[in-house]
């Protein structure tokens, strides 16, 4: 396979899933077309100004900034449903409506869920 879409629908700091998805996406960048899709509670990862020091876990937005070549697509309806649409987002991310998000997912050879 030459392309993989990682789909994250879990909140960034409640479990290891977001950290795991980011790492898996990062190692796949060598030789594959990779997109990380944020859906459902996964869209909380898109919000700028994350501070995780007190949680004792890595700041996941720093990882996103470190892998600027990783395409990250944010499901806009999930943002709206959570009242996040007015927030400031990490600049490198792209928003997509339902149709575009699905179209992007369908263009990949495989989808790995987190």
């Amino acid at each position: 396979m030459k392309s993989v879409f990682y789909l994250l629908d879990s909140a960034p700091y409640g479990s290891e899933k977001a950290f795991g998805a980011l790492n898996a996406a990062a190692v796949s960048l060598a030789g594959m077309r990779v997109t990380l899709g944020l859906y459902g509670d996964g869209v909380y990862l898109a919000v700028a100004g994350q501070e995780s020091k007190k949680l004792g876990v890595p700041n996941l937005s720093d990882i996103l900034y470190s892998y600027g070549e990783l395409r990250v697509l944010v499901h806009e309806p999930s943002l709206i449903e959570r009242g996040l649409f007015g927030e400031t987002f990490i600049e490198t991310l792209e928003l997509a409506d339902e149709e575009d998000f699905l179209e992007e997912m369908e263009s990949f050879e495989c989808v790995v869920l987190f």
């Binding site: 396979m1 899933k17 190692v27 060598a30 030789g31 594959m32 050879e109 989808v111 790995v112 869920l113």
Partner: protein, 126 residues
């Protein structure tokens, strides 16, 4: 021969996914090379000494798959975080003394390599 990769992220017993993956892999082995990548809590699946009272031992199911030719690898970072340490490969075909035969700890980069070589990918997260 075509290649199927299964990605697991759940530990054993908390969900049916380990058992489902095992059934899928067992059938697929008839016509596919099967790879299984154990990520996050799934690195607990191959632990030795599991004695569940009411379930089939997930570890025994997976070591059986390895015997049949499935390539089963566990993420090194996830494994180390949970106390499973990679060492020299032993006579059982594992590189972890706490793991059942045939299942090895390897780098996360191996997940990317498995995906690249695959014709089909199944991920089973909870």
């Amino acid at each position: 021969m075509k290649t199927l990769t299964i990605v697991l992220t759940d530990g054993p017993y908390i969900s049916e996914y380990a058992e489902i993956a095992c059934k899928l892999a067992d059938s697929a082995l008839e016509q596919y090379q099967v790879n299984i990548f154990l990520y996050l809590d799934a690195v607990h699946i191959p632990k030795k000494g599991q004695t569940p009272s009411f379930f089939t031992s997930a570890g025994e199911l997976f070591t059986g798959l390895a015997e049949k030719g499935a390539v089963i690898r566990a993420c090194a970072r996830c494994a180390a975080a949970r106390g499973y340490i990679a060492e020299e490969e032993n006579e059982n075909g594992s590189n972890c003394r706490d793991y059942l035969p045939g299942i090895k700890i390897s780098s996360l980069y191996e997940l990317a390599e498995m995906l690249k070589k695959s014709d089909r990918v199944i991920s089973l997260p909870r």
